[in-house]
């Protein structure tokens, strides 16, 4: 990766982490949910500064360019994150249903005799 790309990704990663932190600060994102994004931002930061591991992985998987490895791992990461989010949604839907059923059971109206 040339210097230009590295500087660019360095700036992006710093801005990204700063944005995530600002979301946590304003309570739009919970600390526990922000961890995965902060780690992702840090990973980009580390790769921008220290390219060796990326080159090593690129050679290991037989890719031509380190950038391809970066894109590939980014895609995999996003796929897993969205799958994880979907499981969270499923869990929340179940909780909402449970709550709504409990509310429903409190609304009993006796028949008019």
């Amino acid at each position: 990766m040339n210097l230009q790309v590295r500087i660019m990704s360095l700036i992006v990663s710093v801005l990204f982490v700063a944005y995530v932190l600002s979301l946590v600060r304003s309570r739009k994102l919970r600390e526990v949910d922000s961890i995965v994004w902060i780690l992702a931002g840090l990973a980009i930061f580390v790769i921008s500064v220290w390219v060796k591991p990326l080159v090593f992985i690129t050679e290991l998987i037989g890719a031509k360019f380190p950038v391809s490895t970066l894109f590939f791992s980014g895609l995999i990461f996003l796929a897993f994150v969205s799958l994880w989010m979907t499981t969270r949604i499923s869990g929340l839907s179940e909780q909402v249903k449970e709550l709504a059923q409990r509310l429903t059971l409190m609304t009993e109206e006796k028949p008019e005799e």
Partner: protein
Amino acid sequence: MEVSVEQRILVIIPARNEAESIGPIISEVKRLHPDFDLLVIDDASTDLTGAVARESGARVLRAPINLGYGGAVQAGFKYAYSHAYDLVILMDADGQHDPTYINTLVEASGELDMVVGSRFRGQATYKIPLIRLLGMRVFSGIASTITRRRITDTSSGFQALRREVFTMFALGSYPVDFPDADTLIWVARHGFQVGEVAVEMHERRAGQSMISGLSSSLKYALKMPLSIFVTILRIPSTQKGEDAR
């Protein structure tokens, strides 16, 4: 036909926007079975379903948000469980299920833990769309093979469930959208006796079917095989009446 008088029986009718059809059904059930309790789960209707049901003599539970068919039914099971009923009769609010067959279901529940009223053993007095019919046949075939019992109508919501079975669903999980072959397989895999009786089903009086429209049918066709598959993968609890999910 004699029905045991000691049993406490609850008829559960999940209903969403069925104000036009629900009144006569409740009156008919009450006339035929004055000793049964009747519970309507008004699934966040925007019409007068709840009020009509109450006026007609049913107890009514009103869901604050749309629970979906399965969610409403499960709320009914929870009610039946907490009020210690022995048997639950499940029927639709749209007039498809003929209340005169409730007796047949109750009688069969003497031998079976879960009884399904089948329109294919009995009679459907209306035309079922071909695609729908094909799906019903396929899923019934799969359910029959897995449960090793002849099942012809997996999508029938006209059922009788004994305490052990509805307790399993009340305390455990129950499909939110389309309880079908997956539910029957799950019950059978717990060692419960599942079986069918012949019933007559009619054209719905008013309102709209749960599975109507292309997206709904597609969702059904895609979801059901998957649901059956994971039901087979899940390990049932060793004890009857406990959900193992």
